[in-house]
Subunit: 199 residues, 2 copies
DNA sequence: ACCTGGTAAGTAACCGGTTATTGACAAACA
DNA sequence: TGTTTGTCAATAACCGGTTACTTACCAGGT
């Protein structure tokens, strides 16, 4: 047997991400994590203190990877939405962990408030608190993220309603185009001067 | 003590909605439901068979109430988005139960595929599979629902990034306006003839 | 009006299995 | 030798589900 604490730590974290992403904090089983990690149950407590601690660590890893892989390009929100969609498609655990977090432990995990604040400031830049689109930057950001994830959080019956297979490559590509176009429309300059939120 | 099986059934279902919405299927505790319902644990199994059966029943009630209270007006999607936002704000359990469903039991709960199919057909009506906006109707529907719920599923750090209290009445009203305007832009006829999805 | 027996509704105690967590100890490294 | 890393088995609490039982209600005979 080779002893390598860092490797064991990583195997545990990987297994935890798989387990928590599938079952959530309440549904996850420490035994299954230990087995999947090919590690002893005890080492989980040595390295991560508790089930909650392991969940928090998993949250940090998954969401950290996401924000690193999909940088928030505030000057190109449609592109950001498209790349976010692509990433979530390849990494379903990122979206699932975010949802578990929202439902089970909203206060845990990374806090990116300052990062967001900077981006929002950059978007507003001289526009009197509004973007060129006439929408408040924070709202725009939230809405664009809603667009990016909407397909992946919609119930099956809605996705299947038009008769196509919602996860076929063609369907996904078509929806990606729709979503990027939608984001483009949100970001386009307002047509009526004064915009939808007149002062 | 007054004996009324229908009333007991309802108390149990109400308590179950509160419990499942707060903790999910795996996190919910039958004992707590029984206590909150002022009913005996046994009656839960008499009326609903199992924890899963009770969860499914809760799903049907909550989502049934939602689709009844917020009719899908396919000829007025911005209005639909606004009303959906209002409802979800007053009934957080509706959104939470939908999320638990997606994560824990995607196959359970009501199936509205036919209803959606009809709406989508109506939206497409003669447009060669596209709406006047140039977007496929199914995509448009999914995206609009994404807009309606985006604020309520966003992480706290993003909502707070612009310094305001994300759940103050003023902030909510402002975001509602943003979201309805966003839906309006998605539904507006495409500016470039041929649209974003040329044949 | 008054029993009375059957049934629906409700209750408390309990059970077997599971679960997170820990203590005691052995093996490997430095 | 002392420290780190890993193993095994125990423990204490918990939880979904069930058993055995009591209480209220009511139809119909007398």
């Amino acid at each position: 047997m080779v002893r390598d604490s860092a490797a064991t730590r990583n195997r545990i974290l990987d297994a935890a991400i798989g387990e928590f992403s599938a079952y959530g904090l309440a549904g996850a089983r420490i035994d299954r994590i230990a087995e999947a990690a090919e590690a002893n149950k005890r080492s989980i407590y040595v390295y991560y203190e508790s089930k909650e601690g392991l969940f928090t660590a998993a949250l940090h890893r998954v969401i950290g990877d996401l924000v690193e892989a999909v940088p928030l390009t505030e000057d190109d929100l449609p592109g950001y939405a498209g790349r976010m969609f692509d990433y979530l498609l390849v990494h379903p655990e990122a979206l699932r962990m975010s949802m578990w977090r929202h439902l089970e432990r909203p206060a845990k995990g990374p806090d990116a408030a300052e990062v967001y604040a900077h981006k929002i400031e950059a978007m507003a830049g001289g526009g009197g608190g509004l973007t060129a689109s006439g929408l408040p930057p924070a709202d725009l950001l939230v809405l664009v993220q809603g667009l990016a994830s909407s397909w992946l959080i919609s119930p099956e019956d809605l996705l299947c309603a038009d008769g196509s297979d919602p996860y076929s490559p063609e369907r996904l590509a078509a929806h990606r185009a729709s979503l990027v176009e939608a984001a483009r429309r949100l970001c386009a300059p307002a047509q009526t001067p004064g915009g939808p939120n007149p002062p």
